[in-house]
Symmetry: C2
Subunit: 150 residues, 2 copies
Amino acid sequence: MGQGMPLNSDKPITRGYIAKLTGCSSETIRYYEQIGLLAEPNRGENGYRYYYDTHVSHLKFIDRAKQLGFDNKEIHELLNIADGPENHTRAEVKALTEAHINTIRQRILTLQKMESTLSAVWEQCDGSDGDAEHCPIILSLLSDSDETCE
Amino acid sequence: MGQGMPLNSDKPITRGYIAKLTGCSSETIRYYEQIGLLAEPNRGENGYRYYYDTHVSHLKFIDRAKQLGFDNKEIHELLNIADGPENHTRAEVKALTEAHINTIRQRILTLQKMESTLSAVWEQCDGSDGDAEHCPIILSLLSDSDETCE
DNA sequence: GTTTGACTCTGTATTGACTACAGGGTTTAC
DNA sequence: GTAAACCCTGTAGTCAATACAGAGTCAAAC
């Protein structure tokens, strides 16, 4: 029931502390503020940034979205939606997510092609102390495989 | 039998022409030279770069390695090996390739996890014109899923 | 013979998502 | 009281290009 971390909603916390709380580095937090991803916090008389609960939950939101592969621009949109969901539809969120899923699927396909090609030449290479001249990996990079009619 | 492109080994070609031959942009070619990936070509009296066959085959090598996901540093090593294979072993090439394959496999795993998580929430969202407040995608980003004992 | 357009040259700025300083000021712990 | 540990700012670096400004050069059309 909310122990562990004594986070009084009214007591502001420093950058180093919110960094530990969220797992972000304090430099990253400054960066997020700079690019407008995280709202500017209040400042103390000494110029120190002081953060509240909302900053903590926003940073956690950012972290989760990042783990799902969203880039900062997409996370910015998602945060806007989360902060004012009454101005957005589920259709909008679903479309945004779908586009992202497609990007990820495309990346997977590209990587899988690389993997299978690489694995094939890797298996052909005997991995011995012999001269790299006859290494099938090097040979495959040297040969115009698509232009074999040369 | 080597027609199609009349490439006399002794006639140097300009940057724009080698760009068309290899599919790289001419800016990219200048960039490769800058980072030491492509050897500095001779210059004409006017300061123009003039390329030979070796540059063409090096650029093609780079392109093929890039398609297999190698980064510029790795390609640099591979090019060194291809240019002086007597100083390298097949074991070395195989190890380099294996490390790269492992990186790619790791990336695939990460992306597949993202994909399955995203697909799951995507399916839960009805995609209607309704308020985004109850959108399961947004909710999943808002919830401390790992810290449910709060 | 000049002018037009396409090329080439250089250096520098931008992208994205940070990370890593340098060179100060402040706060905390002992 | 002093030293460590924090905070502040601005700036530079990373990777792999891409893009642009401003200048010079070249080939061909008119």
